[in-house]
C-alpha cells in the first residue's frame, strides 16, 4: 500500500501538468518581474540595474500609500457593510422567504454573472452627474440631482457601492447555504426556551456561521487587495489618484508613464502584501484549520 502511494513516477506524472502551468503562467513572469524591478527599464530599449532604488522610491510614493489605504478601506467596506447585510438578508431569506426563496436567491446573484466590463460601463452611466440614473432618482425625491458621484471625495464611495453591489449576491449565497446547514432543531429548542428572533440570530446563527464567516472575510480581503478591473474602467484611479488601487497603479506606472521597472517593483511589493495578508489571516483563524 505504502509503495503504491509513494510511487515517484506516478506522483511526478500527476503533479507535473499543474506545476508546469504554474511555473509557466505565474512563477516565470513573477521572477521576471522581480528581475525588472531592480532596473530602470522603461519598457523599451536598454536599461541599467539600479538595485533597490525603485523600492526606496516606492515607500516614499504617496500614491502607493493611497492605493494601499483604498484597498484596506474596501476590505473594511466589504466586512462592515456587505457581509453583515449579506448575513442578514440570508437569514431573512431562510426564515421568511418561503416559496420565493429560490427567486430571490437567483435575483440577488444575477449581477455576478455579468461581465465586469458591462457592469463598469453601466455604472458609469448610472453615476453620470448630468443624466445618470442616480441623480434622476435624487431629483425624484426632491433633491437637486447634481451630485458629482465620481467627483473628488465621492468617487471612492461610489467605487465601493459598485463593488459591494456586484459582490453582494455571492456573499449572500454563501451565507445562505451556511445557514441552511444549521440544524433546525436548534431553533426549535431555542424557541421553546422563549428566545426571540433577534437572540436566536445572535446566539445560534452567528456562532454556527463562524467558519463560513472566516472564509468569506479572508476572500473579501484578498478581493479588495486585488481589485483592478472595476476601478480601471470606472475611474481609472481618478480624480487625480484618489481611487487608485495597487493593481491599477502598477498598470498605470508601467503603461502610461513608461516606467516598467518601477511598475514591477510595485507588483513585487503587491504580491508580498497579498501573501503576508493571507498568512496573517491564517494565523488569526488558526483554530479553524486545526479543527
Amino acid at each position: 500500500m505504502e509503495k503504491t502511494y509513494s510511487n515517484k513516477a506516478i506522483i511526478v506524472s500527476l503533479v507535473l501538468p499543474g506545476i508546469i502551468t504554474f511555473i509557466f503562467a505565474i512563477l516565470a513572469p513573477i521572477i521576471l518581474s522581480g528581475y525588472y524591478s531592480t532596473t530602470d527599464f522603461s519598457g523599451l530599449g536598454d536599461f541599467t540595474f539600479i538595485g533597490f532604488d525603485n523600492f526606496t522610491e516606492l515607500f516614499k510614493d504617496k500614491t502607493f500609500w493611497t492605493a494601499l489605504t483604498n484597498s484596506l478601506l474596501l476590505a473594511v467596506g466589504f466586512i462592515v457593510i456587505q457581509h453583515p447585510l449579506a448575513i442578514m438578508m440570508a437569514a431573512l431569506l431562510d426564515r421568511k422567504g418561503k416559496r420565493a426563496e429560490g427567486f430571490f436567491r437567483a435575483v440577488y446573484f444575477l449581477p455576478n454573472v455579468i461581465s465586469v466590463v458591462i457592469i463598469a460601463y453601466l455604472w458609469k452611466f448610472i453615476f453620470n452627474a448630468n443624466f445618470g440614473l442616480l441623480n434622476n432618482i435624487v431629483e425624484m425625491f426632491g433633491g437637486k440631482g447634481n451630485i458629482n458621484w465620481l467627483g473628488t471625495g465621492n468617487a471612492i464611495w461610489s467605487v465601493l457601492i459598485v463593488l459591494i453591489w456586484h459582490g453582494f449576491g455571492w456573499g449572500m449565497l454563501i451565507y445562505y447555504t451556511g445557514i441552511k446547514n444549521i440544524d433546525p432543531v436548534l431553533y426549535e429548542a431555542a424557541a421553546i426556551d422563549g428566545c426571540n428572533n433577534k437572540s436566536m440570530f445572535l446566539r445560534i446563527t452567528l456562532p454556527l456561521m463562524k467558519p463560513v464567516i472566516q472564509v468569506n472575510v479572508t476572500l473579501a480581503i484578498i478581493a479588495a487587495l486585488k481589485q483592478m478591473e472595476t476601478v480601471y474602467l470606472l475611474t481609472n484611479g481618478g480624480p487625480g489618484n484618489e481611487t487608485q488601487f495597487m493593481a491599477n497603479y502598477l498598470y498605470k506606472q508601467a503603461f502610461s508613464s513608461f516606467r516598467y521597472g518601477y511598475g514591477n517593483a510595485i507588483s513585487v511589493v503587491f504580491v508580498a502584501i497579498c501573501i503576508i495578508a493571507t498568512q496573517v489571516l491564517n494565523v488569526i483563524f488558526r483554530e479553524r484549520e486545526e479543527r
Binding site: 506522483i11 503533479v15 502551468t21 516565470a28 518581474s33 429560490g102 437567483a106 446573484f109 443624466f131 504580491v271
Partner: protein
C-alpha cells in the same frame, strides 16, 4: 421548516417590513439591468431625459442588429464558449490530479507543492501581464488560443485545487485502499473512484472557473491581436470606440454580450447558486 418558530414571531407588520426589505434589495440588484435593457431599445437622444426609465417612441431593435453584426457577435460567442469550456475541462483534470497527488500520495514535498500552487490565489493576474507578453512573444504564442487559455487555467487552478483537495480530504480512504488491495492502479482509482465522488465539488469548480474567465478582458486584449480568438467582453470595448456617438447601440451591445451568460444562468440558476455556495461553505 420551522413552522412553530414562524407562527410565534410572524405578526403582519414585521412580515410586511421583511418583505419590503427583500423586494427592495431585489430591485436594487436587478434595476440596473432593467435600465440597460430599456436603453438598448431606445434612440440615443432619448437618454438625456429625467425619468427613471424611458418609454421609447419607437422600439429600436436595429440597435441589436448593429450590435450583432458589427460586434461580430457569433464569432466572439464561439471563441468565448470554446475557450471557457476548454479551460474548465483542463482545470478540472489538473485539479483532480494535483489534489490527489498532494493529499493522498506520500512524498516529502507534497505540502510544499500544494501551498505553492495555492499561493497562486494571492497573485494578482495583472502583475503578470507584461512579462507574460514577453514570454509568449518569444515563443510565438501571441494571438493563439494558448496565449489566453494557459493563464486562464493557471489562475483558476489554485481555486480548483483548493476546492477539490478539501473535498478529497473528506472522502474516506477505505474504499480506495480496498481497491489498491485488489490491485487497482492509481490512475484507475482517480478515474473510477475519486472523480465520481467529487462530483459536487467538480460542478462548483466548473462554475467558478467559468464565471471567472468568461468575463476576463485584460489578458484577452493584450495577448490577442486579431479577431480570431477574441472573446465577448471585447465587443463592449470595441463598441465604445466604434459607436462613440451612438449610446443606444452601446447599450445594445452590452445587453447582447451579457445575454448568453444570463440565459445560461437562468436555465441553470439552481445548480449554479448551489454549486457556488457548496464550494465556499465546504471549502
Amino acid at each position: 421548516m420551522n413552522d412553530r418558530v414562524m407562527k410565534r414571531s410572524s405578526f403582519p407588520i414585521g412580515k410586511i417590513i421583511i418583505w419590503i426589505l427583500l423586494i427592495a434589495v431585489a430591485v436594487i440588484q436587478i434595476f440596473p439591468l432593467v435600465w440597460l435593457l430599456d436603453f438598448s431599445v431606445a434612440s440615443s437622444n432619448e437618454m438625456f431625459t429625467n425619468g427613471l426609465l424611458i418609454i421609447p417612441k419607437v422600439i429600436h431593435f436595429d440597435n441589436y442588429v448593429k450590435a450583432f453584426v458589427d460586434g461580430n457577435f457569433l464569432l466572439y460567442l464561439k471563441n468565448s464558449l470554446l475557450i471557457n469550456v476548454l479551460a474548465v475541462v483542463l482545470v478540472l483534470i489538473i485539479s483532480i490530479m494535483t489534489a490527489f497527488a498532494t493529499t493522498r500520495m506520500h512524498w516529502k514535498l507534497s505540502g510544499t507543492v500544494r501551498i505553492i500552487i495555492l499561493l497562486g490565489m494571492m497573485i494578482p493576474i495583472h502583475a503578470t501581464l507584461l512579462p507574460n507578453y514577453v514570454i509568449y512573444d518569444k515563443l510565438k504564442m501571441t494571438d493563439t488560443i494558448w496565449a489566453i487559455l494557459i493563464p486562464y487555467i493557471a489562475f483558476s487552478l489554485p481555486q480548483g485545487l483548493f476546492l477539490t483537495s478539501s473535498f478529497m480530504a473528506s472522502i474516506p480512504k477505505e474504499i480506495e485502499e480496498a481497491a489498491i488491495m485488489d490491485g487497482c492502479g492509481i490512475y484507475r482509482i482517480i478515474i473510477v473512484i475519486i472523480t465520481p465522488m467529487l462530483r459536487t465539488s467538480l460542478v462548483t469548480v466548473s462554475i467558478m472557473t467559468f464565471l471567472n474567465n468568461w468575463n476576463e478582458f485584460m489578458m484577452a486584449s493584450t495577448y490577442l491581436n486579431t479577431d480570431k480568438w477574441r472573446t465577448l467582453p471585447f465587443s463592449v470595448l470595441k463598441f465604445t470606440g466604434l459607436y462613440s456617438s451612438n449610446y443606444a447601440v452601446q447599450f445594445a451591445v452590452m445587453a447582447l454580450t451579457a445575454a448568453p451568460m444570463v440565459i445560461i444562468y437562468i436555465l441553470l440558476s439552481k445548480h449554479i447558486t448551489k454549486g457556488v455556495a457548496m464550494g465556499a461553505v465546504k471549502g
